[in-house]
Amino acid sequence: MSRASSTGPACTPRSRPGLYPSLTARQNLSALASLRGHGSRHAAVIEDALDQVGLTDVAGDRVRGFSLGMRQRLGLAAALLTRPRLLAIDEPANGLDPAGTRHVHRVLTDLAAEGTAVVMSSHRMDDLAALCSEVTILATGRVVFSGPVSKLAAESGELDYRVLTSAPETAREVAAETPGLRVVRDRGPGLRPDPDALVVRGPVPALDELVVRLVGAGVALRELAPVVPPLEAAFLALTGTGPAETGKTGEEDGR
């Protein structure tokens, strides 16, 4: 989807889903349904849409008192009224608490499962990883990647992994001896240092070997996970920006 501009006051109205604060949630939806000509059956459609985004309890309240997240969800409900074939959606989880995010994610997955094409743009890599089957990454206005999420993860090459164990010192020695694996001293700028965590870099088979060796040495493995999520790492690699500059990268487009 296109953006008129990424700076300036134009952002403010864009973040409003076109709701009237003096009307209740239900009145807002029912007005839209009526204007779009849904006829007599629109009451059921509205209740269904409110239920899908989890706003049934507050449907009779004026939108004036709604939080940003509730407005976002009501905006999504308004989009659902039309039973769309294509839904283009910008920053769906903006301003949502975890529960709200789940609601929105569930609605979007359900829609996709019913055959609606959902195009969303987001800077939240976790949203994209959770929802999208295909992603397009834009950097400074150019497409730098387009394809399935699994292919994107492979683009990033070797990843840094964080290893938490019961005996950090022993684990560090074991890791240093594991072939194909390097112990990374610096966790990278912008990340909180954690003396107990061991950061290693290497291919997946080498990690498997590390786990086997750790267990053999009597060290309990508590956590093994990428330091940076794969999508984010791929994004950073593709856009050529270091982790320190993550905040000011362009935009991503998930599909």
């Binding site: 006051p9 076109g18 039309t82 769309p84």
Partner: protein, 451 residues
């Protein structure tokens, strides 16, 4: 978050106007400001009329104010006078002046356009919805003030602006007609409000347009303008209803007022429509049409004003301020005769008719040095009349304060047995002598009789 959807039903037809209209009404009525206005318009006039009607001091500086004890119909006319000056322009400003701007403030234009799919229909729906609300407000003012007056002062005959008694049934009809007459200028101001709201967007100036226009026109009306210019002002229709309360009714100013305000209403609505359908809705930072307000709003309306002045100047027989000696004399003599009959009845003297009285007035403005025409508070008149069986004519002196809109207050200046201050017994209780002070209205348009 912004969502854009493509509907599976593939309907490209715009939403019906009735649905858009209903939606606009719901939006208007959900605003606390509109609800408050509705409550005030339906309650406050009744409370005001009832409260004033039981007081000893009456608002005598307002037309019909001094009759509020005598009949319930006067209360409604006092409210009408007051509304015409300030309340109606302000009401239209608060309703019509905001009906488009509110979408700018909320940033909802794009969504409304996507839902309705026709800027024309949005305009019509919004204009009709604000018109409806204004009508309900106006109906509230009328109904409430009439109800309050009738409840407290009763359904009694009303003395017109030439002193003639209007029986209750006729008073009811004329009062309703007067309220209908101010509908036209109200619509003209509402149209100006629509124009301001469309043209100035989020800026509060749009909301102020009708009030500002009313203020400027009020100032203009205080000036001794030529009668053609005065009649061409859309606010004159707010005063023209006074002419309905004379016998015969001064229909000329009323009809001209209706025509002028109709032209203003149509012109301002058309300009607002043109600005609206040409607006670029993709610009979310839109903050009014800026210089186009001047070229597409103010200048055309000024053109309408000039055009009506020219047309009226050519069409009306009266020239100058419209206040000339013969008209003042005729009006005062007529009023005196009517009110003399009333006084006679109240003092239980033998009844006389206007024909027997043969009242005549001789007026002079500002002594010998000043020409006897134009408004001012330095008119001095001597009224003479005859009684059956009495050879010598009676005479009484009046000081007249004539305002530029043709209304005057006659103040009795002796002899005090005729037009001094004393209480008389009336069906509604004790009241001041009707000949002491009374209001009159001169038809500015009437051609002056040579005399």
């Amino acid at each position: 978050m912004t969502t854009t959807t493509a509907s599976s039903q593939a309907e490209a037809r715009p939403a019906p106007i009735s649905r858009g209209y209903r939606f606009e009404l719901v939006k208007l009525l959900s605003q606390w400001r509109i609800r408050l206005l509705l409550a005030v318009c339906w309650i406050a006039p009744a409370a005001f009329v009832a409260a004033v009607s039981v007081q000893s001091a009456l608002p005598a500086d307002t037309v019909f104010g001094r009759w509020m004890h005598a009949t319930g119909w006067a209360g409604s006319l006092v409210v009408l006078s007051f509304s015409s000056t300030w309340a109606l322009p302000l009401l239209t400003a608060l309703v019509a002046g905001d009906v488009f701007a509110v979408e700018d403030r909320l940033g909802t234009w794009r969504h409304l356009l996507v839902a309705v799919r026709s800027p024309r229909r949005i305009f019509v729906a919004k204009a009709l919805a604000s018109l409806t609300v204004i009508l309900v407000l106006l109906a509230g003012l009328a109904a409430s003030s009439i109800a309050g007056g009738l409840a407290v002062a009763g359904n009694r005959p009303l003395a017109g602006l030439d002193g003639h008694a209007i029986v209750p049934a006729d008073a009811a009809a004329t009062v309703l007609l007067a309220w209908l007459c101010v509908l036209a200028p109200t619509l003209a101001f509402a149209a100006v409000g629509l124009l301001g709201s469309v043209a100035l967007g989020r800026s509060p100036m749009g909301l102020l347009m009708p009030a500002l226009l009313a203020f400027v026109l009020q100032l203009a009306q205080l000036l001794p303008l030529p009668v053609a210019v005065r009649m061409a002002l859309p606010s004159h229709a707010f005063l023209a209803w006074r002419g309905l309360f004379t016998d015969p009714a001064q229909a000329g100013p009323v009809l001209i007022g209706l025509a002028v305000t109709a032209v203003w209403a149509v012109a301002a609505t058309a300009l607002a429509y043109r600005l609206f359908v040409r607006r670029d809705f993709t610009d979310v930072a839109y903050d009014g049409s800026g210089r186009r307000v001047l070229t597409a709003g103010v200048l055309p309306l000024a053109g309408v004003a000039v055009l009506t002045v020219v047309v009226l100047g050519a069409a009306t027989p009266a020239d100058g301020s419209g206040v000339v000696r013969t008209k003042v004399q005729d009006s005062l003599a007529t009023s005196f005769a009517h009110l003399y009959r009333l006084q006679t009845a109240e003092l239980h003297r033998p009844a006389v008719t206007e024909a027997q009285l043969r009242a005549a007035a001789s007026c002079d403005k500002g002594g010998g040095r000043v020409a006897d025409k134009g408004p001012g508070n330095d008119w001095r008149c001597v009224v003479t009349w005859r009684l059956p069986g009495v050879t010598s004519a009676g005479s009484a002196i009046y000081q007249l304060d004539i305002t530029p809109d043709g209304r005057y207050v006659a103040d009795g200046d002796g002899p005090k047995e005729v037009n001094g201050y004393f209480q008389v017994r009336t069906p509604s209780g004790d009241a001041p002598n009707p000949l002491w002070q009374f209001d009159g209205n001169i038809d500015l348009l009437a051609s002056a009789r040579k005399g």
